[in-house]
Assembly symmetry: C2
Homo-oligomer: 254 residues x 2
């Protein structure tokens, strides 16, 4: 059974704690948190420590803290030559202090405090300096999900940018849709089936094949009517830039 | 039982034909198509006509053709004072020739030729000049879905723009994600659970509440690293504009 210590108490840490706590193949030995009381709803007090000196032995130490804190936290660990990983999409493997064997265990998902996640649907991207550690991380990943991928640091950085486009920016487009509905006294619920179908469609078509709408049809009249109706300059700018980008993508590739 | 004639043979027409053909509450009396042979996989030949003179009596005539053709097609009809509707998100009710009683029956969804749609999940936006016709359209809508909405022309135009943002533009962001994966030899499948979760999240949170990522955290280091890594000027422009727009939205509203 894999023995795990988690270092951190944020969103990702808490989702991992929840998941490992009920995982028969993993022993969550301990969690380190600067404010242990913040985790008492998840764990008994004797499994939480606020002192680096008290961290116990384990096969894998998972540092789930903000990117900027990874270096400092990893340098505080009082042991060496053990497997220490972070969970970040954008931090380099080298952000971890080299007194230990370094790795990455990056679950590619958007974690909200108030929404449970199903780890079986989450891809986990792993990376390590040593083959044996990679295989340990793979085994840990497979206790959560079938989707475990070897992803090196350069790929992981690209993936993180791609995630910003398909998650953060997409969500912002939903937000603009929400605002347009509100302005016009339309219930936002009308758009939800379309939003879900748009996300589902790319399971059967590539995004390029799935593209519809006035931009790809080069329907200049509709595009102009839409721009005339938009009041917000920022919305106009986004409409114009994304319309051009769709047209460019289709000129190049079809 | 509502008697329906469909005029048109494109994507929307074909999805409506499929759905009404198996609908116990609707009698699909006839379909008009300029090229009747294109519909023989869906209907027996005697239910299809290519001549305006042969169009039969019905309660509702649904014109499902491109926006630009609505006026011309509706003016060709050889009868008057019947209920004639179009299915467009952006055309005005007045696009239909006023020799008949006009209305709109707009299913808000993205229709692809090769992907079946489930009408029970599709909102239908109806509009009409007369209360009695509105109630007929409502009844027809309810044979397909529980989600039938009274939406006037101005609202429908706004809704169509909102649909461009949450469907066409979102799909284009998926396309950029796909390109970034391809460039870096990452399987696009890694992003699919994130894409689905992003769409699902707005069932429990507003898009503004659901916003995560470097823009809303004002994480300038990560934003700069992402911009440095992007090679494509167009992708950089989109990244910059959407990042600013997220920051602006959150300054204004939180």
């Amino acid at each position: 059974m894999l023995q795990v210590v988690i270092i951190g108490s944020g969103n990702v840490a808490q989702h991992l704690i929840r998941s490992f706590s009920t995982n028969a193949e993993v022993q969550l030995k301990q969690v380190f948190a600067r404010q242990p009381e913040g985790l008492l709803h998840l764990l008994p007090a004797d499994k939480i420590t606020g002192s680096y000196n008290e961290i116990v032995d384990a096969d894998i130490y998972i540092i789930a803290v903000s990117d900027d804190a990874i270096s400092e936290v990893s340098a505080q660990l009082k042991f060496d030559n053990r497997l220490v990983v972070h969970t970040s999409g954008s931090a380099a493997l080298e952000a971890i202090s080299n007194q230990n064997r370094r790795g990455v265990f990056y679950p590619l998902q958007t974690f909200s405090k108030n929404k449970a996640v199903d780890f079986t649907a989450i891809p986990i991207c792993i990376e390590s300096e040593f083959d044996e550690d990679l295989s340990t991380l793979k085994n840990l990943g497979y206790t959560l999900t079938k989707n475990v991928y070897d992803i090196n640091s350069a790929q992981r950085r690209a993936l993180h940018i791609a995630a910003v486009f398909v998650n953060n920016f997409t969500n912002h487009l939903y937000s603009i849709g929400y605002d347009l509905c509100k302005e016009n006294e339309i219930p936002f619920d009308i758009l939800k089936p379309l939003i879900l179908e748009t996300a589902d469609k790319i399971n059967t078509l590539t995004p390029l094949e799935a593209q519809t709408g006035p931009a790809v049809r080069n329907d200049i009249n509709t595009i102009q009517r839409h721009l005339d109706k938009l009041n917000d300059e920022n919305q106009k700018d986004i409409y114009t830039l994304l319309t051009k980008s769709i047209q460019k993508a289709h000129e190049q590739k079809l």
